[in-house]
Symmetry: C2
């Protein structure tokens, strides 16, 4: 017997129904915000991702050589491919470009709950604007996508990497040391962060103050920690974004968190994350912010920002909240009483389908009771029983599968009873 | 600058619009026929495809080893994964199982018009029934999917591999010889087929008769060529399918074609292909039939049939027929006249979006004329101009982008003018 590759999944009709629902909901919200859908290939040249994230990332990739010796890789994320697409083809488009996408991504990771080797992401990029209203709208979009999908319990954290950089600078932390520290900060391992700061010759008292600033949710306290001229401008811009988010986009329940680090290499300024607290360790549903990749990929520098949403985790979060997904049902199931009524039954089925009504029909020539049982397993709302006597009167028996009520209906009137 | 991998594509918003339209249309038709959607992973264990198609297929695959040394491959088609899924998880489901899917597939092929290394397929399988009405419905579904997508010029050819096998048997052609012959027949290279038959010691006259039978569209003539007892049963069954297709599914413009060979290894009985004649050499849009794979994959044998539709070629066929795809437009674009009206403009935008109206807003603080130009490039139906004087009256200026007509509208009434 052949098996599903490790870390991947097959999706049953019941699962697909949830996924199609979520994708439709998200597509609709993206479009409402003026975003337009694009798509890029499932694999890319390997160097696209090593240029962005360093050689270290190869460890986590499904990379391979094609038959001409090219180094390719299944994409681990979608921002790099989209910016590659932008640089290759879309630089002359009117700005801002608001692009969204859905796509499967791949990571060679240890499979665990909520983490798969093939996973789906929704995401977007906005290219060509760096106004506070653009960033506020981006955060509002991420939050609204998840809200509109039906999630109730969401936690929005907003940080700022320019301010975080200034905090590091104040402690005279080098770029190399930052990398080690942010790995710990990213996992909220603050004791270890404090210890490492002291290893880097920061006094214990200073280290503690730094850690407290990472953890506070009050902008006032961050300002008390750092308040040079340059950082003041950053605070003004940051607070403008927060004010617009609250007052014009109506998103009020966010928290400030300087401990959001993401990829310090190419993220700049505003960063944010949205969690579903019910999910425990794997609670992050969305993350994004402003970043710089265009010039690295050979394009003319322009402001860029975006975010990604974990599609699979959003499904799990909805399930955890016991969200009632729309249930699929088929309008009607047609049962020929015997072989002599098969052809008439097929005609009726075809007519209903042509009217856009979902209609299935017994294709196994089984008895009435088995057919009724099958009709209920496929969630048919009504069954149409086609018997020879009724046919003589150009009629059929229509049965409501919930109430069990039956009535005789003229063939030409069936659709009226189904709409 | 980084480049798109050879043979793959990026899709612009205009192209994605067509693709989303086609997928929605097809999903709707599949559901109308009582099919349910599933999905399988983008890669599979390599042996799944070599078991089905032989080691020769490796040449055409994107196969690779993962970091644990497993032989994996990007899937070249979707029937094998779906039957693998069925055998692993769905064997106990009530029959018949009617499953459909969309998915990208990959072949290491020389890129050319209408052939890409990454391409999209739509398809379905019906598992657990072998009645003539089941096969007739399957062919009707393939045809209806393409018709409902908007295609006008379609050519449906129907063949039968059991009858073709009987024809080979009559000429005492071995299995090995059949393989060589079907490669030629598949490409309609009938002169070469005739020559090869003669190389296999078939008399020229007999070879010519065989070729004529492959090419005739009249069942009567095929019956004149071959009419043993066993084949008579095949003809009866075949003609019953054709009769149901014509009389109960209303699909009348098909042609008989014994020269449809597909994969003689696992296809059995009925086979069919649908072409878009306008596309020239790459004209085949859909192909399928009855086949046997379940027991090869370790499951309990049960009848299976299905088909695949080339999604990309269907798009090309629609474009060739100049089909008018639905055009995307954004309902309204909001323009703050100056920086003082930005916040009110954002509020109006948020309110409209919350009402489900697609609304975009100037995020670059540019002048009125540039904003109007941008609004027209994104196909906005109306613009809302937010100026300080109008705001004093709780009003804005609403401009119709087609007619250029402007009117003053109360903020609370805007949605009425947009719906």
């Amino acid at each position: 017997m052949f098996q599903l590759p490790r870390g991947t999944r097959d999706f049953t009709p019941e699962e697909m129904q949830k996924r199609i629902y979520l994708e439709d909901s998200m597509r609709n919200t993206f479009q409402t915000f003026g975003y337009r859908e694009i798509q890029t290939p499932m694999f890319e040249n390997l160097e696209l991702f090593t240029a962005k994230s360093g050689e270290g990332i190869i460890e986590e990739l499904y990379s391979f050589k094609d038959k001409s010796g090219r180094d390719l890789t299944l994409r681990p994320e979608l921002t790099a491919p989209v910016i590659r697409f932008y640089v290759e083809q879309l630089q002359m488009e009117p700005k801002p470009l608001k692009l969204f996408y859905f796509g499967n991504c791949f990571r060679y990771d240890r499979p665990q709950k909520g983490r798969y080797r093939e996973f789906r992401q929704a995401g977007c990029e906005i290219i060509g604007t760096d106004t506070p209203e653009a960033y506020a709208e981006l955060i509002a979009l991420a939050y609204t996508l998840l809200k509109n999908s039906g999630l109730k319990d969401l936690k929005l954290n907003i940080g700022n990497l320019n301010i975080l950089s200034a905090m590091f600078k104040k402690l005279k932390i080098t770029k190399e040391q930052q990398k080690q520290l942010t790995t710990l900060i990213d996992k909220s391992q603050y004791n270890e962060t404090s210890q490492l700061l002291q290893d880097f010759d920061v006094k214990q008292e200073e280290a503690e103050k730094f850690i407290q600033t990472l953890q506070t949710t009050e902008i006032k306290k961050i300002k008390e920690y750092i308040n040079d001229e340059q950082t003041k401008k950053e605070f003004d811009f940051f607070e403008k974004i927060l004010q617009l988010l609250k007052e014009t986009f109506n998103i009020k329940n966010y928290q400030i968190k300087m401990g959001i680090v993401r990829g310090l290499d190419y993220y700049k300024g505003i960063v944010f994350e949205i969690d579903a607290p019910s999910l425990g360790a794997e609670k992050q549903l969305a993350g994004g912010g402003a970043y710089e990749l265009v010039s690295l990929f050979g394009g003319k520098e322009t402001p860029t920002a975006g975010f990604a949403i974990g599609f699979d985790r959003t499904i799990i979060a909805l399930e955890t909240e016991k969200y009632k997904f729309p249930t699929e049902s088929i309008k009607t199931y047609i049962i020929p009483v015997n072989e002599n009524t098969i052809e008439k039954s097929l005609e009726i089925t075809t007519k209903l389908r042509n009217q856009g009504i979902s209609a299935d029909i017994d294709l196994l020539r089984r008895g009435m009771s088995k057919s009724l049982k099958y009709a209920s397993t496929i969630n048919a709302e009504k069954t149409i029983i086609v018997g020879p006597k009724e046919l003589e009167q150009n009629s059929v028996t229509l049965r409501d599968m919930k109430t069990g009520k039956q009535e005789t209906v003229k063939i030409e009137d069936i659709h009226k009873f189904l709409e």
